[in-house]
């Protein structure tokens, strides 16, 4: 089944992240919490902005606003409803989950061809150029719920799907069917000190995220491409909205 076929019916849940650009001060807490939660290893000193593994990048785009004012744009995988990366993967290592709308990456299937990196218009995927290594003793502080990826595979944000699995297990153990929204919050959302990130099920019409998604100040990056991302951005500045939705952000 292709991604298009998978999305022909609306998913049961449609997990969505809304980023309020008026609040984001570029502190990097989201990127750090993401790296800690998902066991991203420290890289050799020769790694750089193009070769490093970073699931969520915060870009300072001072040039967006004619006044020169900075706008900080955190960019994780955009979790598209029409994800280009799914169609190009020869290994089916990228899968769209129709129950949640989450685009998952399965590293053990990945052969490292990096077609998905080429196909992704948001530059949110990273390739493991080096074997993962930690300073002696630091492996004990890794998150046991996330496996360590090997050299030669691509990886990306998956909305901390291990937290969704934990929430499902908790719900099931309690004999319930619907998970409590408070039980499933990605690490970046939990860590944001200025509360710029909101997360939830956009199919829940009464939820905060569904309301934010309909807000006229909300927009998507590179909206014209028709990839229908489930990461939305908000800004009170029409210039920022217009430019980012049209041009996106270039990595590096």
């Amino acid at each position: 089944m292709t991604a298009t076929q998978q999305t022909s019916t609306l998913p049961t849940h449609r997990y969505t992240l809304v980023v309020d650009l008026d609040r984001c001060n570029g502190c990097g807490s989201c990127a750090t919490a993401c790296a800690v939660e998902n066991n991203i290893p420290p890289a050799p000193e020769r790694s750089n902005v193009r070769t490093g593994v970073v699931w969520l990048r915060v870009h300072d785009v001072a040039t967006v606003d004619p006044s020169g004012r900075s706008t900080f744009v955190p960019i994780p995988c955009q979790q598209c409803d029409e994800p280009p990366c799914v169609d190009v993967c020869p290994q089916r290592a990228v899968e769209y989950d129709p129950r949640t709308g989450i685009v998952g990456q399965i590293p053990v299937r990945c052969l490292g061809c990096r077609y998905c990196m080429v196909a992704c218009p948001y530059h949110t995927r990273s390739f493991n150029w080096w074997s993962p290594e930690w300073p002696e003793g630091m492996k004990a502080s890794l998150n046991p719920d996330v496996s360590i990826r090997q050299r030669g595979v691509v990886e990306k944000c998956n909305f901390c799907v291990q937290r969704l699995q934990a929430a499902r297990a908790k719900t099931s153990a309690a004999g319930k069917t619907d998970i409590d929204p408070a039980d499933y919050v990605p690490a970046c959302v939990e860590a944001c000190p200025s509360r710029a990130l909101s997360f939830g099920d956009a199919n829940d019409a009464d939820g905060e995220v569904a309301k934010l998604a309909k807000d006229p100040e909300s927009f998507r990056l590179l909206a014209a491409l028709g990839t229908s991302p489930k990461v939305l951005y908000r800004s009170s500045d029409p210039v920022v909205r217009e430019r980012l939705s049209r041009t996106g952000v270039t990595r590096g």
Binding site: D22, R23, N25, G26, C27, G28, S29, A31, T32, A33, A35, V36, E37, I40, P41, P42, A43, E45, S47, N48, V49, T51, G52, V53, V54, H59, D60, G68, R69, S70, P90, P107, L111, Y115, S131, P132, P135, E136, G137, M138, K139, A140, S141, L142, N143, P144, D145, S147, I148, R149, R151, G152, E190, A191, C192, P193, S194, R195, S236, G252
Partner: protein
């Protein structure tokens, strides 16, 4: 038509097929599968022994003292998040705090004492470290010309009292780095009684920052951007806006509503120019000035010299902009002006001019609030050295420099300390890391890493309410580690100085004062301290990560002097003698770390691999 297949056609088809297959993933996948032995097999993440539990403490890495919620397996934390409702941080946490659990295993971590001898670093045992320290203490005490100097990055702890007792016993000095908020201290010193000031940003409609990175790296993580964004739907005149004044376009400056670039070192001239417009156009808070200040005539005479055209000449800020900014400040009260950065302080004259500006705006009845310090145990009979400023220590007068592990090199650069050292001086550091000032030590006696010991933690000095936590340890220190206090007492005793026993502790003092509330991080509820049975109950709560927060203090009656005695000529000379305008440097610079610990290797990687500088600056590897 007869179809003939020639040998050439077969060759072409075969070559095309081979090329097509080579360009497809198939052969490469086959090659990949065949050469799997060249790759590391998938590694399961080790699961630490012990059940999953959530534990609470406070971050000890910088003065913000944020609440920490640790997700742990047994004794091992594997991740942190903030504590919503926490009195010091309200759920905020910066990248340093999020990676605090990595530091105990940092590659630069030191566990055994080390000595630099003949330019070489060698590991020594506890006895040798104690003997070396003891000899240095004895030598410093006997020398009439040179003395012992202790530099303590976090005064007020039990270890701080031991340091002060040692300094007193050996005729040495005890110094602390500069104040974290000198402009506020300058203003508080103008009051005709003892006063400590905090900033309640939720009460402000305008925040003007002279160089302080208020939107990104200063204070409670994320607080000001959050407050600003919450008010964005209000009419323009009612919403909170931030104006950044400075010579460099820092991250905070770029994110401010307005950035006013000025020539370096001309902050005092601009502040006095704003004062000039406020007084000239009668825009100052007249009621506050009449009721709560003295010396208006002196300030008027001084400010009269700073007409906007002159200010433009000195600072490079157009005269019209000076007038507009002053009018905006007056129309947007409550307003507050903040100045300086602990790592890059302004001149004393600029602090004085900012203090006067705050008084003209009536800030002490608005965003600035009187606060009390957390109760502490009385000094009693113990002989303790007075706290001196580092700048007051004469050059080349120190034969033994004792550096506490909490002194950040970003705040106290080594070059500043090196000038104080006499020839052959011993530099002993209690840092847990061979980094920062710990790297400069000739005798390194490593202390516990962050999260390895319970720490008495006073909250930020400029918060509207005082907080205190006895941040519990989450990790066990290495068995071979020597606690600095233990070794210090042992070495002092061997040198002939018996130091007084540590006092009963802060919990007893807080319970005795019957002041404030106790915040329980597991339930996000508060309990009045007066309802606690005794100090033991408070200590039990602290051991579970609780945080004490003071009650609001009543505003003290009294007046502020707009200028202190003899200050006007100094201000005039400083502001008018300021350098003329030069092209404002517009650059984004990383902030200097206020943490004494190095960054986690993970944070170093993120700094290197993203185009952004993470918050309180992880640029230090």
């Amino acid at each position: 038509m007869k179809l003939e297949v020639s040998r050439r056609d077969l060759l072409l088809a075969g070559t095309g097929a081979a090329a097509g297959i080579a360009l497809s993933p198939v052969p490469w996948k086959a090659l990949d599968d065949l050469s799997i032995w060249t790759q590391r097999p998938p590694t399961p993440t080790p699961r630490p022994a012990g059940p999953l539990a959530f534990r609470f403490t406070s971050c000890t890495l910088c003065p913000a003292a944020c609440g920490l919620k640790a997700r742990s397996f047994g004794p091992q934390p594997v991740g942190f998040s903030g504590v919503p409702g926490h009195p010091a941080s309200d759920g905020g946490l910066c990248p340093l705090g999020l990676t605090a659990h990595h530091l105990a295993k940092h590659p630069l971590r030191a566990v055994a004492p080390e000595r630099v001898s003949g330019g070489k670093r060698e590991t020594i045992d506890r006895a040798a470290a104690s003997a070396a320290l003891s000899a240095a203490i004895a030598a410093a005490a006997k020398d009439p010309k040179r003395s012992l100097l202790v530099v303590d990055g976090r005064p007020g702890r039990s270890l701080s009292r031991t340091f002060r007792a040692l300094a007193a016993a050996t005729n040495g000095r005890y110094a602390v780095p500069g104040s974290p908020s000198p402009a506020l201290d300058t203003l508080a010193a103008r009051f005709d009684g003892p006063l400590s000031l905090g900033v309640d940003l939720s009460k402000a409609r305008r925040v003007v920052s002279f160089g302080t990175p208020v939107l990104t790296d200063a204070g409670t993580p994320g607080l000001l951007p959050r407050l600003r964004a919450e008010g964005r739907r209000k009419p323009k005149g009612e919403r909170l806006e931030v104006v950044h004044v400075g010579a460099t376009r820092t991250k905070s400056a770029g994110f401010a509503d307005r950035f006013v670039p000025i020539a370096p070192g001309t902050e005092a001239a601009l502040a006095l120019g704003l004062a000039h417009v406020l007084l000239d156009e009668k825009l100052a808070d007249a009621a506050f000035l009449a009721a709560r200040t003295t010396g208006l005539a002196g300030l008027e005479a001084l400010a009269a010299r700073f007409a906007p055209p002159l200010v433009e000449q000195k600072t490079g800020v157009p005269a019209g902009d000076v007038v507009a900014l002053a009018r905006d400040l007056a129309a947007s009260r409550p307003a507050v002006v903040l100045g300086g950065d602990p790592a890059e302080p302004l001149s004393a004259e600029a602090d004085a001019a900012i203090a006067a500006l705050n008084l003209l705006l009536g800030a002490p009845s608005g965003p600035l609030v009187a606060r009390r310090a957390a109760p502490s145990e009385p000094d009693g009979d113990a002989k303790l050295a007075a706290v001196t400023a580092l700048d007051a220590v004469p050059e080349r007068s120190v034969s033994l420099l004792l550096l506490d592990g909490t002194v950040p090199e970003g705040l106290v650069p080594w070059a500043r300390l090196e000038k104080l050292l006499a020839d052959g001086a011993v530099v002993a550091s209690f840092s847990a890391f061979r980094a920062g000032l710990g790297e400069k030590a000739t005798l390194l006696v490593p202390g516990p890493a962050p999260l390895e010991e319970a720490v008495e933690l006073d909250g930020p000095a400029d918060a509207p309410l005082a907080t205190f936590a006895l941040a519990p340890a989450l990790l066990a220190p290495p068995k071979e580690l020597v606690l600095p206090e233990e070794l210090l007492r042992e070495a002092a005793s061997a040198a002939g100085f018996e130091l007084p026993a540590p006092p009963a502790g802060r919990a007893a003092a807080i319970v005795a004062a019957k002041r404030g509330q106790l915040f329980d991080p597991s339930t996000a509820t508060t309990t009045p301290v007066s309802s606690l049975a005794d100090a033991a109950a408070l200590e039990t709560a602290f051991a579970a990560g609780a945080c004490w927060v003071d009650d609001p203090a009543p505003a003290p009656a009294g007046r502020f002097a707009l200028l202190s005695d003899g200050e006007a000529p100094r201000l005039l000379e400083s502001a008018l003698g300021a350098p003329g305008p030069e092209p404002a440097r517009v650059a984004a610079l990383p902030r200097t770390a206020l943490s004494a610990a190095p960054s986690s290797p993970l944070l170093t990687k993120l700094t290197r691999e993203t185009a952004l500088f993470p918050a309180p600056s992880a640029a230090k590897a």
